[in-house]
């Protein structure tokens, strides 16, 4: 038995323990570091360090032409890349005053809602993993695969999609793409239902998440929360409703809201949003099918200055060859303007603040990344809680390192 050591006179005993959570910790799902001060198992303070994967996108964007910036947006929230791609294209279209055809809008909505599902699916099943239920994660992963197969059919890539162009899509959706979409629409709802049954009224899960990491609506607004995290606190703000883009006004869907802003409410809001996304996809697919004849072949707006011509035209037509060259070499000048445009990303309002001075590339481009704004509340959310609660709070906030660090 060891004796209690008495400290020499004048020394003060340190009662708290400092631990490093991250930057490479299996429970942080990304490159996050938190220096946590613990009193026993209770958190006294948490200080976040961010920037481990900062890649200076805003600086790079000042030297790139619009189509090259799309690939940068892929790498923000890489769990739902198409949402960022279309957010950027919509910003450019607003700047240039391009009106996209309805069919393009509806096709985009199908993809954007699929992206939202694939993002929420990861986030919610990770909340499950961090509360000790691993099987939900493995089970849902195969349905993300179905979504990625749809992406692959449309644009050729899966994770960092670089999908679409200013004005629309690079090619029309194939029948295989619609076939894969139909398969997903058929197989996904039963799987999500099963996932719900496993978690939503699960006593262990509820005890683990209710009252953990809560935030009031007032604090959430002051912290600049957006997306599911804000809605879980009871504020029904959604860019899709407040500033409709891509014809969201043509759709009938509801915005789920929570009340306490804790981990359980965030989980439920995301869960209900996945069901709502399915409703939107169904409506959009029906609208797409209603286009007949020549209308059913429309997949981009007529913007020759920014939309690459068909390859066969490039080989045979003079004008197409000129446009092809001008676009690829970035010879097309952007009009002078200043615009803030935002879309409802999977974890909040993803904004693009674009200033152009008449040159080929933006004068300044700033990304309003939702998780960079709300991650600063993490310290306040976890204070006074247990260390294990801090882990589950982090995963339920849906932090994506790529977006956080830009």
């Amino acid at each position: 038995m060891s004796e209690h050591v008495t400290l020499p006179e004048g020394n003060v005993e340190k009662h708290t323990t400092t631990i490093n959570l991250g930057p490479t910790h299996p429970a942080t799902h990304g490159v996050f570091q938190n220096i946590i001060e613990l009193d026993g198992e209770t958190i006294v303070s948490a200080e976040q360090t961010v920037g481990y994967i900062h890649r200076a996108f805003e600086k790079i964007a000042e030297h790139r032409v619009p189509y090259q910036i799309t690939t940068l947006t892929d790498r923000l929230n890489y769990c739902s890349s198409p949402l960022n791609n279309f957010g950027w294209h919509i910003t450019c279209e607003r700047l240039l005053g391009i009106k996209t055809p309805k069919r393009v809008d509806y096709l985009r909505i199908i993809i954007m809602e699929l992206a939202r599902i694939s993002d929420h699916l990861i986030c919610n099943s990770i909340v499950g993993v961090d509360s000790g239920a691993f099987s939900g994660f493995l089970y849902l992963m195969q349905y993300r695969e179905l979504i990625y197969e749809i992406y692959e059919e449309i644009c050729g890539s899966r994770l960092t999609t670089n999908m679409g162009r200013i004005g629309g899509f690079e090619r029309n959706f194939t029948n295989e793409a619609f076939g894969k979409l139909e398969r997903f629409m058929k197989e996904w709802p039963p799987a999500l239902k099963e996932f719900d049954e496993m978690f939503v009224r699960n006593r262990i899960f509820m005890d683990r998440t209710i009252g953990v990491g809560p935030i009031s609506a007032e604090r959430a607004l002051n912290y600049g929360f957006t997306g599911p995290n804000l809605r879980a606190a009871g504020v029904d703000y959604d860019v899709r409703i407040h500033t409709p883009y891509s014809s969201y006004e043509d759709f009938d869907f509801t915005i789920p809201v929570g009340s306490t802003g804790d981990c359980y409410d965030r989980f439920l809001v995301r869960d209900q949003e996945m069901w709502q996304s399915m409703e939107i996809i169904k409506q959009a697919y029906q609208k797409v099918q209603e286009f007949k004849g020549a209308e059913a072949e429309v997949y981009h707006a007529d913007v020759p200055d920014f939309y690459l011509p068909d390859k066969k035209d490039v080989y045979t037509k003079m004008e197409a060859l000129i446009y092809h060259f001008k676009i690829i070499m970035g010879e097309t000048h952007l009009p002078v303007g200043e615009i803030y445009s935002s879309v409802e990303g999977a974890n909040g309002e993803l904004g693009f603040y674009l200033i152009t001075d008449g040159g080929r590339s933006p004068y300044r481009l700033h990304f309003r990344r939702p998780c960079f704004v709300y991650y600063q509340a993490y310290s306040e959310l976890t204070k006074g809680g247990l260390l294990s609660d801090a882990i589950i709070t982090m995963s339920s906030l849906n932090l994506i390192a790529g977006e956080l660090d830009a």
Partner: protein
């Protein structure tokens, strides 16, 4: 009654008069500017006034205009009134030799990290900020990389001609 840009403008003019200048509406968003020392008064008024109620800070960033002497750095606030669903943009300009701007972090908790980011990349010194240090770049960095005088890549490189691709 819906909160239109005209109402916001007349309400602000009533309070601040000629102190607010540079009224514009690019793509429908009301934009204005003021002296940099007025920024907290303007933001507080926009926040507190029952008619205006701009209580949500969407975004805060800076822009570098090296050719505007004495007004090289612009700090840009994007505010949102969620009830009326109106956005406005408020800019202040500061010189680059002494870029001191009052912090808005006491009014908006959201401004804390956004101001740190702005400091990190542009060197805007937010006076009164509780923890103004670099956030995305390394602490040892000695310059502010988003200022226009810093090139994207090492200028000694000869294998690449950037002139053909975008800005030279």
């Amino acid at each position: 009654m819906a909160l239109t840009n005209e109402i916001i403008r007349s309400r602000l003019m009533e309070k601040f008069g000629e102190e607010l200048t540079g009224w514009e509406e690019p793509y429908g968003m009301l934009t204005f500017t003021s002296d940099k020392n007025l920024n907290l008064k303007v933001l507080q008024f926009l926040f507190d006034d029952p008619e205006l109620g701009f209580q949500f800070m969407t975004d805060l960033t800076a822009v570098h205009y090296p050719n505007q002497e004495g007004k090289e750095l612009a700090v840009v606030y994007h505010l949102h009134n969620l009830k009326e669903n109106v956005r406005i943009r408020y800019k202040i300009f500061t010189n680059i030799q002494k870029p001191d701007v009052y912090t808005a972090s006491a009014l908006f908790s959201a401004a804390n990290w956004m101001e740190r980011e702005t400091f990190d990349f542009f060197g805007v010194n937010f006076v009164g900020h509780p923890n103004l240090k670099r956030i995305l770049n390394v602490e040892e960095m000695e310059y502010f990389p988003l200022r226009k005088e810093y090139p994207l890549e090492d200028q000694k490189r000869t294998d690449k001609d950037d002139e053909m691709f975008g800005r030279d």
